[in-house]
Point group: C2
Chain length 452, copies 2
């Protein structure tokens, strides 16, 4: 981990920063901080506890602030944005990409957004407003409007001369986009092709039409899948009539992919994927309390099931010793199925046509593991308590609970998704409830019958 | 989920494929399948249960097989590779990128790799061997050797004419790489710059030197961080003397990012990140058995702690009812801390300098949530069992267990990583052991004292 940090900032540098802070050598520190690339400054801020973070932020040069803010995660960025006044906000949007400005503005209250927009020149304002018109998590929200477009009737030579007159082409441009007179996307002209093709050819002759433009209302996760499957570097975005609005570039898609993949893991522990690692204790406690509260309800449901069988436990106290094994193993087996299906859904692998097969496979695998571990646990229980009845009871309960838990784990995500509930967030809580209830009920219930 | 699939293959198309299969219309199906892009065919194979998968694979045209294999996940690819003979293996490597061929070969037994290499022409063989010389998960293993290099003394005009004589530039080329006479990397010339700069300028005058080349032995996750932070599309790879070996492109980095992000989630449930969603039941059961076995050991440790207090439970059976609440809430609180720190480590945010702050924040947050929920649980327990003693005991036990669990969850990943153990895989098992043992021991131990 230390090594990963070293990669860009360096343990040594971080230590120097800390030393400098402790000894109040803030001018030296200021210089050091402002020579770092903005992404590294942002990383340093995100890796700092609250006090150090505020102190470092005050040392960032005004001109650098906008670039650094872009690189911060949403929660940390919000914290700094909240402290800025209108003049500062206007200043930091200058020189930023249109999609990045839109990202910033989406985090501000509407009245402030309006004021910042009003301060821009009309061309910039229109561009930003075009992006703001779409939800943040859509193709339109991801796109940039700095596209270079050419007409199909131009020759390659004309295009080359046109580009040479240009001040500069945006960094991430890999293709020029070809549009007709109505500004509708009709093809793309990769720079690699432009450089190797006959100058006298027309754009129409050499352009590629292999790529369907992306509708502006497509979800960002779908955009990410398209980029991944087709190894795209950029793709055109169009409105519902086919008019070209802008382009999405891979660097923004990479963020979507990372967030999407992290989202499931964080949600399964009831955390927000944008969670600030170094949030203060009180904020951390408050946020986590909600999820813990839901888990407490689960725990009380499980406890009340045990409560039904107090008489039986009073008779055979060994039941109390063994009962967490049945519940726990069910929960573990179920969470494997849950995780696999959540991942499969994120990859778009699971549909109605293969769900039935998947559920029966899970049931078979769960039953097999149930049998295997039930046998072992039964043998140990027999030896431990010298009681063949408890050994039989726990074996049956384990086979039942593992089978039910894997089926629940596999079916839950699909069910929850169809009800528009986040499977990762709700899935693990519901699964625990099921595996606890079924585990305690089958174990103690069977015991009540056998010892009754 | 249905929508995500629709994106590229379409529910309707999938249904048609299934109908076609059921009615044996295989020639129609073959045509349909082979007009899909290879990535979509691969996706269809990965989304199919074993029998359907084998059947579909037989319908894929020989010339398409190599492209489709590239797009498959490792486990599914291995399955098909195992069934191929040398001639088929040689055939599928033809026309593939050097890094992709290396990926395939790395999955084959050494003797077969040798035979396939021997069948290549010497230039291709050398290129593939250059990549094979580095581990799969290093910059060298990720790189491609299809770089276009230019010399610093050439003029832009010469470069442009040189490119125009070229058959074609590799798709993902965004920059030409500038090397000196000893083939050492000295700078890069983005195509965007090449198109806008004065033709009479020399390469040396216009080239960018802002990017440090990547050492071939850098870990792939570090490469991914570099690409993410600096929004790179490609980067040069050099050996220890600075000689240019090849370049890494963003499309390969995207796979690393996706895999890394998925890895933690899958590992926390004891799953392999390359796990085939549609693996047969027996294979699934066998794989999961190992992790369940480790969890069973945990469960027995917890059970033996309860076993120490059988007498106390015999006296106050309500303890058996409430004890899972203490253990479970500790486990939940701990897994929040564990997940947050694992994510923070993956992002390179956590180092020795901020770990102490993080641990004390976790302790504070855990203690606060412990107090909050202990109060509520104590109140409910008092009413339920009409017993102020049990209410006091469970409150104390919960505060203790939640505090210990969050500290354990936060410290474990760092500790395990320093011992070179995967934190996500081992972390959740060890955490469960700790929260169960501390939960049961503090609750039943305190009860033994108070009721003793």
């Amino acid at each position: 981990m230390a090594q990963q940090l070293q990669l860009s900032i360096g343990e040594d540098e971080l230590k120097k920063l800390n030393d400098a802070l402790e000894h109040g050598v803030s001018s030296e520190l200021r210089t050091m901080l402002n020579t770092l690339p903005p992404a590294d400054t942002a990383h340093l801020l995100e890796s700092s506890p609250p006090k150090l973070r505020s102190l470092l932020w005050r040392l960032v040069d005004r001109e650098q602030e906008g670039d650094v803010l872009q690189e911060l995660s949403e929660e940390v960025r919000q914290f700094f944005l909240d402290q800025m006044n209108i003049a500062e906000l206007k200043a930091i949007t200058e020189g930023q990409d249109v999609d990045d400005i839109a990202d910033l503005l989406q985090q501000l209250p509407d009245t402030i957004t309006r004021q910042v927009l009003d301060s821009m020149n009309s061309q910039d304002r229109q561009r930003v407003e075009a992006v703001l018109a779409y939800p943040e998590d859509s193709a339109g929200g991801l796109m940039n409007t700095d596209t270079i477009t050419v007409r199909p009737n131009n020759t390659v030579d004309v295009v080359l001369r046109y580009l040479r007159r240009h001040e500069g082409i945006p960094d991430t441009t890999d293709s020029l986009l070809v549009v007709n007179r109505r500004d509708e996307y009709i093809g793309r002209l990769p720079l690699t092709l432009l450089l190797t093709t006959e100058p006298s050819a027309t754009v129409r002759e050499v352009m590629l039409t292999d790529l369907d433009p992306i509708p502006a209302d497509m979800e960002d996760t779908q955009v990410a899948q398209l980029f991944e499957r087709q190894d795209l570097l950029s793709a055109p975005v169009v409105n519902e009539t086919g008019k070209l609005l802008g382009r999405i570039t891979i660097d923004d898609v990479v963020d979507v992919i990372r967030e999407e993949a992290e989202h499931s893991m964080m949600s399964m522990a009831g955390l927000d994927d944008d969670e600030d690692t170094f949030a203060p204790a009180l904020r951390t406690a408050r946020r986590r309390a909600v999820w813990l509260g839901f888990n407490l309800i689960t725990a009380f449901i499980a406890a009340s099931v045990i409560g039904l069988f107090q008489e039986t436990i009073d008779k055979v106290v060994a039941l109390a010793v063994l009962m967490p094994i049945v519940a726990g193993m069910g929960g573990n087996a179920g969470s494997q199925a849950l995780t696999l299906v959540i991942r499969g859904m994120a990859l778009g692998q699971i549909s109605k046509t293969n769900l039935k097969w998947l559920l029966s496979r899970e049931l078979a695998a769960g039953f097999l593991n149930g049998l295997l571990w039930a046998t072992l646990v039964a043998a140990i229980a027999w030896v431990w308590f010298d009681d063949p009845v408890i050994s039989l009871v726990i074996a049956c309960a384990m086979v039942i609970n593992l089978s039910v838990a894997v089926i629940t784990g596999a079916a839950l995500p699909v069910l929850l998704k169809s009800m528009n509930i986040d499977p990762a967030l709700a899935g693990s809580i519901i699964l625990t409830t099921v595996s606890d209830v079924v585990g305690f009920f089958s174990f103690l219930g069977l015991a009540t019958i056998f010892y009754g």
